[in-house]
Symmetry: C2
Amino acid sequence: MTATTSLFDPARFEAALEDALTASASLSPRLFAAMRHALLAPGKRLRPQLVFAAGALSQAPVEALTPFAVAVELIHTYSLIHDDLPAMDDDALRRGRPTVHVAFDEATAILAGDALQALAFETLAITPELTLEQRMRLVGLLAHAAGAGGMVGGQALDIEAERFPSTAAPESDALTALEQLHRGKTGALIEAAVIGGALCGPKVKRTLLETLAPLAAQLGLAFQIVDDLLDATSDAATLGKTPGKDARQGKQTFVTLLGERVARERLRTLQRQIDAAIATLGRDAAPLATVARQVIERDR
Amino acid sequence: MTATTSLFDPARFEAALEDALTASASLSPRLFAAMRHALLAPGKRLRPQLVFAAGALSQAPVEALTPFAVAVELIHTYSLIHDDLPAMDDDALRRGRPTVHVAFDEATAILAGDALQALAFETLAITPELTLEQRMRLVGLLAHAAGAGGMVGGQALDIEAERFPSTAAPESDALTALEQLHRGKTGALIEAAVIGGALCGPKVKRTLLETLAPLAAQLGLAFQIVDDLLDATSDAATLGKTPGKDARQGKQTFVTLLGERVARERLRTLQRQIDAAIATLGRDAAPLATVARQVIERDR
């Protein structure tokens, strides 16, 4: 297989998720069922695909990429369960299925998220396919991206912006504040997927990481702008989750702040920057180009 | 300092907790305040003390024990925040302070718990005081203890026993089921504290771990029986949390199942077993003997 083809195999990846889940040895069958309900729902697996695409740039073998991609998807899935809770975004539909607190109950949803987070780090810690040093860097990278300085911190800012609008930034700074919020909420994990994927390779050049870091940040921002556009313009059947939620909750998004036209312009600019960066990476970047296109052109 | 004195220094440990929290670089000041509210409330720090006491048995230096003890306390604190949520035990008082969802709000409480869990693994991953192999074993040990096969799994069983009593075990198996539940809910983290503390040493004998494993399990069980006795017989001012909750929620506990007299007998038996095991460990076990006594004789 040449590096121009992604090593990501959807069926094998689903099996790897299932294996990781089984390894959790849940004491409670109900908790296990809730974790499974969320994790094995039909997801796009964008972040795992990014892990594999970035891994192609450092010649990382599929065996080394899989546990990290699984860990990233475990973190992402736990965050969806918690974000959907009644105390947070209060959503009933996710990945085309009832959310965990609807299909089970709120306590089980909180615990299923908690257990998936722990499982992400356990999966990384015990994998023999990565060196000790790789595992350690990946645990640190993923934990930081998932925590108060990344994903959870961004989600907290999102909730606060909605509930305490009086503390929000003045209009002129609103765009900067929104970018900061999403750099944490969705960007941090996307960036960790890209950087971490590259770190799974046997030898990682510093120049590669220096190209990937801004590229991953641009990709994370593009992802969020697409999300906001879809929320404003799509329907539940296509999305697999409830659309129009941002407007109803009075949330500031790139669409409410910039308008649809300017948001699309911003997206096109990001796309040009991403394409330019990818072009410098040679033919090993073909899988990354494919996933980047998928991030931007997706309809759900 | 001889090994008969514990290396655990309460003031230095509180400072280490504060340092770890600051390192989380929270994007949201409100989230940071909620994490701090829970983490720096006056706690007994029993699990960190166990880490240090077990570490004395493998000549672990204080610099190596601190990051692991911090990680254990971060996990414990996050679990308290989530257990107290309205959807779980719905408690308003913890460590003598309003619980996080009361002092802040429910969304912030969920996120503060989530961020503290991530921070535990980040803290362990980046500490230079432990070898790569030690860090990796500790991440795996702690993640497993915290997850569906340990603490979260036990909490799920606890919630289920309360809400779906019809699915509970028949009377004859009720004690076994209760022990299993608590082996996860409180035992797993106590066991991880003891085993992990020993693993922080430069050279860890297999025979030491073989003695510590059953001892730690007995200590975890003793801890829970004391907890149940205190809930049945103490007051809020002494406990720093709401007493009498188990009875009101119709929970099965060692007291409701065995009666107070038999529960106390069971506790004395465990204490004798623990003392006997500790006696085989020589004078380096003096700190462990002290903490074990504290676990059993505490009044909160």
